[in-house]
Symmetry: C2
């Protein structure tokens, strides 16, 4: 049971921002069980959904080197089908969400068919958000390698404050979900320290501050790829959706 | 002088997030004067740059009605060229920034040529951020009408927390700029109260809390179009760039 739930929760991790998931799930018709949603998952995408967390030709040297650093320490499955432990887990990332599950019809069909995850809505490699998140459950931390494309401009030549906030929400929300299961974002508090030039690769590292009842607090910092320069600091508060609520219906 | 500076500052308002503008401006080569930047402005864009704040075919009824409500109370220029006062000013919005000014070469030419403002990086009408900002200087407030497209998804069927943060940064940053001239974002503190369904139109209203030395504090709330439902509340802190710093070089 715990293992199956773990697999389900990993599915949620690809959603990026999990704000308001509680409200969202509670909007689902009572006839839709979690079991039916999970059974529907394989058919939610085209036959080969693109995993946006895998390397592509737009990734620069820093992005690739950092990816290799963490990926080489990941859990792996041997040819014999055995799982080998690792420090890290790479989290896959898709551009569609669970609303495609059977019964999840609550938006206009046009919007529903066209909807895409905000951070993965541009398919041109390298143009917008290139990122991959690794989770380290033992050490209660996540790391995201983020290469900022030319379509994320705010101040001339630098990344928009909203694009930085978007990545902070994505990484801390994923972290909270890894630790506490499905959550919704309640607060983001972001301090901007120094600009992030377009085209550069940065590290977003999150750590678990506290879990208290339904609340999960995660803090994170955004630094240059070598860790030398602090770009942004933030705290994020998430509220859990109880398993009973998740499993109802 | 004051009038000319006013025109220059209005140019900055189209940048959206102004975080780190200080650092950005200070990176400009000393040989680039503000005068030469301003002279270069008309040639920064193609002959007819698109003003994204004007209505298009994707705007729904609520978006159009709210636009007409504020636009009908705007300053206007008569056929005779005279300015007629109004409560509000509509702020134009473009997808390129001042880095195209002569001499502003500090990124790779490829990134520089392709860079687009984050909130205006998708040209397909209605797909992402449709918004227009009106400023009311007398009452020290701004209002933004925002229609959220299908490419802004976070939790299934709802707008991504990062996309909401992006609009909050954009509106409060524009407001701070209208009041204090060029600024950079120092802090965003956002409380998420209830989800915003994809496709819906919301109001983002900002008010000036305090100006203290170089600091400008702006708060804002995001509500349903009729004002009945509170979606998000936020405060934002901006730090001014002194006029002397702006005019140097």
């Amino acid at each position: 049971m715990a293992r199956r739930l773990g697999r389900i929760l990993r599915g949620f991790q690809s959603l990026g921002s999990l704000a308001f998931m509680k409200s969202e799930l509670s909007n689902l018709p009572a006839s839709v069980s979690l079991k039916s949603m999970v059974r529907a998952l394989p058919s939610l995408f085209s036959s080969n959904p693109r995993d946006f967390s895998l390397p592509n030709s737009s990734w620069g040297t820093e992005m690739r080197q950092l990816y290799e650093h963490y990926n080489s320490q990941c859990e792996a499955v041997t040819d014999g089908g055995e799982e080998q432990g690792g420090l890290w887990n790479r989290l896959p990332s898709y551009n569609r969400s669970l609303k495609y599950a059977a019964g999840g019809v609550y938006l206009s069909k046009i919007i529903q068919a066209k909807a895409r995850l905000f951070t993965r809505n541009i398919r041109d490699p390298g143009a917008a958000f290139e990122y991959v998140i690794f989770a380290n459950k033992k050490e209660q931390r996540c790391v995201c390698i983020f290469q900022a494309g030319h379509l994320l401009e705010g101040p001339p030549g630098n990344v928009h404050g909203g694009a930085i906030a978007t990545m902070i929400d994505t990484v801390t929300g994923t972290h909270a979900c890894v630790h506490s299961g499905p959550v919704m974002t309640a607060n983001l508090n972001i301090n901007y320290r120094s600009p992030i030039p377009l085209g550069s690769t940065v590290l977003i590292e999150s750590s678990l501050d506290k879990k208290e009842g339904r609340k999960t607090l995660v803090s994170c910092k955004v630094t240059s790829a070598d860790g030398a320069r602090l770009h942004t600091e933030a705290t994020a508060l998430f509220v859990s959706i109880g398993v009973s609520q998740l499993m109802k219906g």
